[in-house]
Amino acid sequence: MTKIPELNFDAIIIGGGGSGMRAGLQLGQSGFKTAVLSKVFPTRSHTVSAQGGITCAIASEDPDDDWRWHMYDTVKGSDYIGDQDAIEYMCSVGPEAVYELEHMGLPFSRKENGRIYQRPFGGQSKNFGKGGQAARTCAAADRTGHALLHTLYQSNLKAGTVFFSEWFAVDLVKNAAGDVAGVIAICMETGEVHYIKSKATVIATGGAGRIYASTTNALSNTGDGTGMALRAGFQMQDMEMWQFHPTGIAGAGTLVTEGCRGEGGFLINSDGERFMERYAPNAKDLAGRDVVARSMVLEIMEGRGAGKDKDHVLLKLDHLGKDILDSRLPGIQELSKTFAHVDPVKEPIPVVPTCHYMMGGLTTNIHGQAIMVDEAGSERIVGGLYAVGEAACVSVHGANRLGGNSLLDLVVFGRAAGLYITDVLSSGISISEPSNEDLELAMSRLTRWDEAPHTSDSVPLLKKELQNCMQLNFGVFRKEKNMQEGMMKLSELRGRINEAGLSDKSKVFNTARFEALELQNLLEIAEATAISAEGRKESRGAHARDDYQERDDENWLAHSIYDPLTKQLRKRDVNFKPKTMEFFEPMARTY
């Protein structure tokens, strides 16, 4: 094999969304040789689509607000399998991380006194659930993700961060010790392949909502880092936990922020009834997302869906008035008109639960270090490999993420990993050289696509089949029989994908080649999801089964760990040891 051109870095971050750019900014300031690699120009990353805000106890709306209340809500929201040390860290460090964003220039909406505007979001409470609804989500109108992502990109420009923009990461390079020694990546414009050697490789590739047919996620959300890690044999945690956002626009799948309900909007069925009053008498439309999504599906299944096919419900906003909608939800008006042909000032928006967020991911500690768990339950840290943001499972979201917590997760843990890697690099670590065989292994997938003869089984077709399989069998409600059928379908698809070949093998910006590589990432993630979902014999958070309808704390108050080498599931203890306070005991979760 001809030698692959090599580039050398102290740290390489794969993914230029919120978490990757926050980590990049931190490492850029450290003086170590760092680069952020992204398959899209960084401001095109999916963080840009986040709307409602970033949840954090900055005590602007309520001067008495306390990060411990935010922590309580997050633990409860996670259905008690969020790690309490990680949640404690996120909620307590949060204000500092949010103020940093403001200092960088993020154009937050403001209150009369000049402080950051905060709005109510689902699952938020005051005084540990006893003080009623809180308003804790810091917002820049309904374009918070856009404002955050552009601010981070701008700050990175200011700091002189090196970007590999429109570079596609193919596979991790593992050395003989099992450490990660960098990544194989393609410059998309030229098609040239490089080995990017690094002492720290950070996976910040976000979610993979594109394993489902109906998702709020961008077309580029194919979980490339997750796929690479699975192929390299690294374990994933809680992959059965996928959040279905209650309000995706019916048909189009585009997101309508929970902030709509935070500002006073509510859901109605075909009878015009505000049905959430029945399912969650206290929090109503601001119950946890899993609770609201299930209630909506039940309404539709029981024949109270709206529209001629009775296949969605309606989000009513017109009672808020044009002024509130113009100032606080301008983007939503634009999206509703474009994708639902509805003006929310006058008519309700047709909505349906839509795949939104991957709570699971690469198992990490709060420094972003990847963790492996052996059969006896003892843990080891993987040398050179880190993950942050949606691609990581640290785990702050457990079985159900609260709205506004993902943006906080990005900045808090992007920053934390940056700080920790700076320390590690300062202490002078080294990662041993990979052999030629190690490099060839990391190249093998790409080589196959470049050599395989063209087949009629096309990438778009295989992708559609995969997405339909996941949608049908691993949706809001899960049945054993369907899950098993789904798993069989996935193994059939694996066989066909392994044989598929492209007609166009050119090098310059060959998007077909990248979509083929993405499809394999989707497949790895779909399979991890399927096996984890079938294996968790209970209902908890976003995972709802008809054969095990109750939460089973005796057997399943645990993380699931999926091992891609054996395709088996094992359990890992949830952390109940916050550092500065008493832990929160699991309780019945009602809203």
Partner: protein, 234 residues
């Protein structure tokens, strides 16, 4: 419907050409131009274009459709197809890498030139810097830019001087920071814009305003910068 798409693959084509596709468009829903591109790609996977969010916020899929720049993902066929025909070309004025994918290097260089980040060297407070809702409102219509490039590549002044005229997108961002009550580098920013090209090559053609998919108004922002520069001299 007849769809005619600009094709160029530097590895095989000596020059670009327009390729025609006859497409059956389902009548029951109003497809977006991006849906049409996806349909074409299913039949010919060599067709290349950028796309990501498919909801008009990431700015990847700016293209020229029947002569007009816009985002493929938020442009319904009903608003753009004329006489059952649709011509899709790359954004004009930038070098083509392949098919509908242009090299946006010049565009981003101009964006970077205006120092598109907050400059404030005062020690930040422990909490956020305060900003009144009135001051914050001054950023509306500016910060929402998605850097799709539709405006600058519709601007004859930018076509003529892509290296020296900052262009509507860059100038919109320049004004976004000039207008921010938290920024302390106004003088420095204006000094860097006072040459005859950076701002003053804008001729008020307003193509930028008519194509902006986010409904922003770069011409108005440029007018404000012009006034600030002129007031400074007076």
């Amino acid at each position: 419907m007849l769809v005619s798409v600009y094709r160029f693959n530097p590895e095989v084509d000596s020059e670009p050409y327009m390729q025609d596709f006859a497409l059956d468009i389902p009548q029951n829903r109003d497809l977006m131009v991006l849906d049409v591109l996806a349909m074409l790609k299913e039949s010919d996977d060599s067709l290349s274009y950028r796309r990501s969010c498919r909801e008009g916020v990431c700015g990847s899929d700016g293209v020229n459709m029947n002569g007009r720049n816009g985002l493929a993902c938020t442009t319904p066929l009903s608003t753009v197809v004329k006489g059952d025909k649709l011509k899709i070309r790359p954004l004009p004025g930038l070098p083509v890498i392949r098919d509908l994918i242009v090299d946006m290097g010049d565009f981003f260089k101009q964006y970077e030139k205006v120092k598109p980040y907050l400059i404030n060297n005062d020690e930040p407070p422990k909490q956020e810097r305060l900003q009144s809702p009135e001051d914050r409102e001054k950023l509306d219509g500016l910060y929402e830019c998605i850097l799709c490039g539709c405006c600058s590549t519709a601007c004859p002044s930018f076509w003529w001087n892509p290296d020296k005229f900052v262009g509507p997108a860059g100038l919109l961002q320049a004004y976004r920071f000039l207008a921010d009550s938290r920024d302390t580098a106004k003088e420095e920013r204006l000094s860097e814009l006072k040459d005859p090209f950076s701002v003053f090559r804008c001729r008020g053609i307003m193509n930028c305003v008519s194509v902006c998919p986010k409904g922003l108004n770069p011409t108005r922002a440029i007018g404000h910068i012009r006034n600030m520069l002129l007031n400074r001299i007076a």
